[in-house]
Subunit: 246 residues, 2 copies
DNA sequence: CGTGTTTTTGACTTCAGTCAATTAAAGTGG
DNA sequence: CCACTTTAATTGACTGAAGTCAAAAACACG
């Protein structure tokens, strides 16, 4: 029997199918997308604000985040990305980047030429719709972050971030454990929730004292997701997600 | 000569064309979209978190905003809408609303059945792409709001909100004056920038003392947009907008 | 081991929140 | 047109959550 090497885009394809029913032709087209892979060290930039975008990256392995730098030099992280997510559909469609994209951990990407994406959308409307929906869910997450940063106290903000990450991570691998590791330093968490690293440290220690998380080696381990969720009355509707996320 | 009554969607159509070249057939299809109009009083809700969405509204006249309510009852406004903008393409595509939509001032809407939108996208891919781009720009604005709330001090946050509004308002009517009226109470501004009404009042008085704004009757008048922009080094790249907004 | 992050701590400051009362506007009805 | 109600804006005194600074400890890693 002939074994065909699986495209690294299979996971991405699965994510799309999650949103919209695709047929074999659609699936084949996604998996046949041309790409080159690249592996980056933690913290490496691969898109900077102002860049003209000529390709669209799918995160194959590892974690990444997007950020903005404001006038005074402060950084705000605006989203965190898990494997099999498209990192800059947003930038790609709009041609010029309005934010930076960086790796969190060591990560490998599949870099797809912009034209190939447009071509795919053109020939496979269902795929285009699925991609649109994915960007809409990202927008929903942005809204939740606005509310998180704008209206929740420090402890709740951090807990919310951790919950969201834990749920999204679990959604990738529903059969796995619910506890998980978020590979972010306290400084990065601070930049994601609009606090200072010192204050994040104080709050994390509180969560740690309640046995909800532990910290080690530039990562936070979320040990008791359920209790963490309950403690902040976390609602996952904004993730518009598959059943196991509701 | 036969005069055809113009569709109220002409402005919306123009907005789409701004993003993507459309042909006469596309244009005709947009303008021919079925709709009913509705006029709402200030503060009226027309979508609530959790609603199942069966239609998509275009704001014809007046202003509107979207908001979320968190566990403790606090409200966070996540976006502000101007005439000719689609108010819930986002919700519409995702079927269930993750946030509320309310009018700011008295407003009239064109309510378009969801199916008609899907049909339009289906038959006119260029229109679909233009709509997608519009939702992507909204996402870019969400990111900027995250950075605004997360990393700017109170005065800068408010000034940024005012600048953004002034620019977007001016973009609708480039020949008009740059000064403009934002029909929001100080409490609403507070909910948009993640502050308390009391503190917004203090900051607004500072801006007012510098001659940048005046307040009257539940509205803020932005009198000197250029100086306001300069004072916070406002950059409009995130609006991905037509030349006159850059 | 030594070096550079990352985390932790403590003392101190400040920006923004809270509370509560006052004033000012806008709208209503007689 | 004026009392009457309501909503929005304003003020001042006080509090407190989060920021700042700076130094020490703890890792992680070559």
């Amino acid at each position: 029997m002939h074994v065909k090497r699986a495209s690294l885009l299979a996971g991405f394809c699965r994510r799309l199918e999650h949103r919209r029913e695709l047929d074999d032709v659609d699936r084949a087209a996604i998996v046949a997308l041309p790409y080159v892979t690249k592996t980056l060290e933690p913290g490496a930039y691969f898109v900077r604000e102002g860049d003209r975008i000529t390709s669209c990256c799918v995160l194959i392995e590892g974690f990444a985040f997007r950020s903005k730098i404001i006038e005074n030099g402060a950084r705000q992280i605006v989203s965190i990305h898990l494997p099999d997510e498209a990192l800059d559909l947003q930038n790609c469609m709009l041609a010029v980047a309005d934010h930076n994209i960086q790796t969190l951990s060591r990560a490998t990407l599949a870099i797809i030429p912009r034209d190939a994406i447009f071509d795919l959308i053109d020939r496979h409307p269902a795929v285009g719709l699925a991609m649109w929906e994915i960007t809409l869910i990202e927008a929903s997450i942005f809204r939740e972050w606005i509310a998180n940063i704008g209206r929740r106290p420090a402890l709740g903000r951090i807990a919310h971030l951790l919950c969201e990450f834990a749920l999204r991570a679990h959604a990738i691998n529903p059969s796995g454990p619910t506890s998980c590791k978020l590979p972010m330093t306290q400084e990065q968490i601070a930049d994601a929730v609009g606090l200072t690293p010192v204050h994040v440290n104080r709050m994390l220690k509180e969560l740690s004292a309640s046995g909800l998380v532990t910290m080690r080696k530039g990562s936070v381990f979320i040990s008791d997701v359920d209790r963490l969720r309950a403690s902040i009355e976390f609602s996952a509707t904004y993730l518009h997600s598959a059943p196991y996320c509701g």
